[in-house]
Subunit: 349 residues, 2 copies
DNA sequence: TTGAAAGCGGTACCAC
DNA sequence: GTGGTACCGCTTTCAA
């Protein structure tokens, strides 16, 4: 006999194999434990619990397996499964670095929910400060099947993710990125709509509120750019989300003789409008104010707040796009404009 | 030479081994690929890339490995690693079923972010409709090291999670659950504080806004109960978050002769206050209104909105608790009250 | 109808 | 200093 089994050399045929590994008390039960208890093989356990249609297992056996599984409280191990399968159902989404507004965070929530319904595992990954392309490496370790890339992830990051097996990489942001499907959300459009309205009302100089809150400039800058693109004379007005600063800005508005302000969004608009009114200015008489996002609160203010309604794709819709791309990874990267901005004129302009 | 490799029996010394598995073009590179390219073993690759301190690897070898890894764009496979390690760094959090208010969602965001910083992988899991204890099984498949259990997960669910290896299970909710650390957030307290204030102002009958929006009753019901607990005569006022319904409720308030309303939170309070005022009632003259959450907008209303400030633990704090529990899983389940409610009286009451 | 066993990708122990 | 290799838990041929 030439062939020698590695663990049990023929020279010592009597050497008992390591005692059938008894899952230690307190250890997490595995399919092997279930198999042992049911008196079948691990293969059979797998067949039964996954309802493998290619294999017919007798009813008594099925019952024994199910009972054993229940008795042990067996739960399959997702990592082991996907390691074997060679792919996961993980969809990676970035955690917004700053508590986003109600509009956007509502959108993300809906998306997440819709993905869950499609049986994906949604993993929210903090961009932990490290640059996008660097974060990509950390993300790739999870072998996500799809990724909603954060703004700031460059082509290299995308490439890393795709090479690691991501079937769909989708960027949500102002500009398309190489080799990724792009859902264009160009906030310049928001500024443009607001500014054109104000221009039409005869205001050439427009104050533009720029939130001092970190993380918001990603939205604020493009909105400002959009205002400028109309040819209006845009005056940036840095504003922290608190009353004192609002009072300052309000007085600055008077000094500058600004007749119109685009207030970034409805919440900042509310803050500013209050400050302007408290300073004795009439809205829209002395200064016109327009917000964005079309939140409920705008309708409740007096004067009612003019705003720019932002249309985002529904989470369900986006989730289905993800699903489609996962199923058909060959699809050519597609660039689609998904953000609409329309004027909602009320009384404040 | 006695030992014979199992794949190449001595009988067929000429049988060529399956051609050294060449990672197919386009396949995700593994540590074996790196090893081959660097001309070393997988073990060495592992040592080098993990900076294993127990093993000294020569500098030239390290360089070769690093270069090979970079050239191939190698990224380790998290599932394989944690399968081997026997544990993950996954922390599971429930996705709120309904877009939570700014206060709570801000808290969750912060928590998530703090956990990321502590090097945990945060997985947001949708409760996908299935009952808590059922969801627990799905959750357990990920073998999370810690779980923030959603309200509605019973003791059985907790048990499943723990048996699957979760070192820390923490419930955030109104009541403690067996065998889990409990962060008590008892919203009755909010109702109690509001009601006691109104009682002190001489109102015995108190309207209590109950959002019609699904998912919010988890908070609304306890708040109502808190009002009742003071002995006040609570009148539930179902209210959808829209102007028309608010007008209805406002007129109902007149009919019922309600002199005071606790409006669930500041946003509903704003909505209702507007409707009440539009109906010709004075606030607080005819009807006193108090909200909750102490949002900025309350300060901007006229009259300024009285409210109940809710103190939540900081996300950082909770993240550190999670981390501590993970490190010391033996710790006795602890029940802690983490929600403070304090009156902020302004002008609307 | 069932079982034996090869691996998925990494890690870490033990030899050399 | 390095290499060989068992093993983590599961799926899936291939044989019996």
């Amino acid at each position: 006999m030439v062939q020698i089994p590695k663990q049990q050399p023929a020279q010592q045929p009597s050497a008992p194999k390591a005692p059938a590994k008894q899952s230690a008390r307190g250890a997490v039960p595995t399919s092997a434990d279930v198999a042992r208890l049911a008196g079948v093989s691990r293969a059979t356990v797998s067949y039964v619990l996954n309802n493998t249609s290619a294999v017919r297992i007798s009813e008594p056996t099925r019952r024994r397996v199910h009972e054993a599984a229940k008795e042990l409280g067996y739960v399959p191990h997702a990592a082991a499964r996907s390691l074997r399968a060679g792919h996961t159902r993980i969809v990676l989404m970035p955690t917004p670095e700053v508590p986003a507004g109600p509009l956007y965070s509502g959108f993300l929530n809906e998306l997440q929910w819709a993905l869950s319904r499609l049986d994906y595992t949604v993993v929210q990954y903090g961009s932990v400060g490290v640059g996008g392309d660097d974060a990509a490496r950390a993300w790739a370790e999870l072998r996500p099947v799809a990724v909603l890339a954060p703004v700031g992830m460059g082509p290299d990051g995308i490439a890393v993710l795709k090479r690691s097996g991501a079937k769909a990489v989708i960027t949500l942001g102002p500009a398309p990125v190489e080799d990724a499907h792009a859902l264009l959300m160009d906030h310049r459009e928001v500024g443009r709509v607001a500014a054109e309205h104000l221009l039409a009302r005869g205001h050439r100089r427009i104050g533009v509120v720029m939130p001092r809150e970190e993380g918001l400039d990603a939205f604020a800058e493009p909105r400002l750019a959009g205002v400028r693109a109309t040819g209006a004379d845009a005056v940036p007005l840095p504003l922290a989300y608190e009353e004192e600063d609002a009072a300052q800005v309000a007085s600055r508005i008077s000094e500058l003789g600004l007749g119109a302000v685009f207030a970034y969004n409805d919440e900042y608009a509310m803050l500013l409008m209050r400050a302007v009114q408290d300073a004795g200015c009439a809205v829209p008489g002395d200064v016109a104010v327009i917000g964005a996002d079309d939140l409920m609160l705008g309708r409740l203010l007096r004067p009612r707040l003019s705003t720019v309604r932002i249309d985002l794709p529904s989470g369900r819709e986006l989730a289905e796009l993800v699903d489609r791309l996962v199923r058909d990874p060959a699809a050519e990267p597609e660039v689609r404009d998904v953000m609409g901005a329309t004027l909602v004129r009320r009384e404040s302009t």
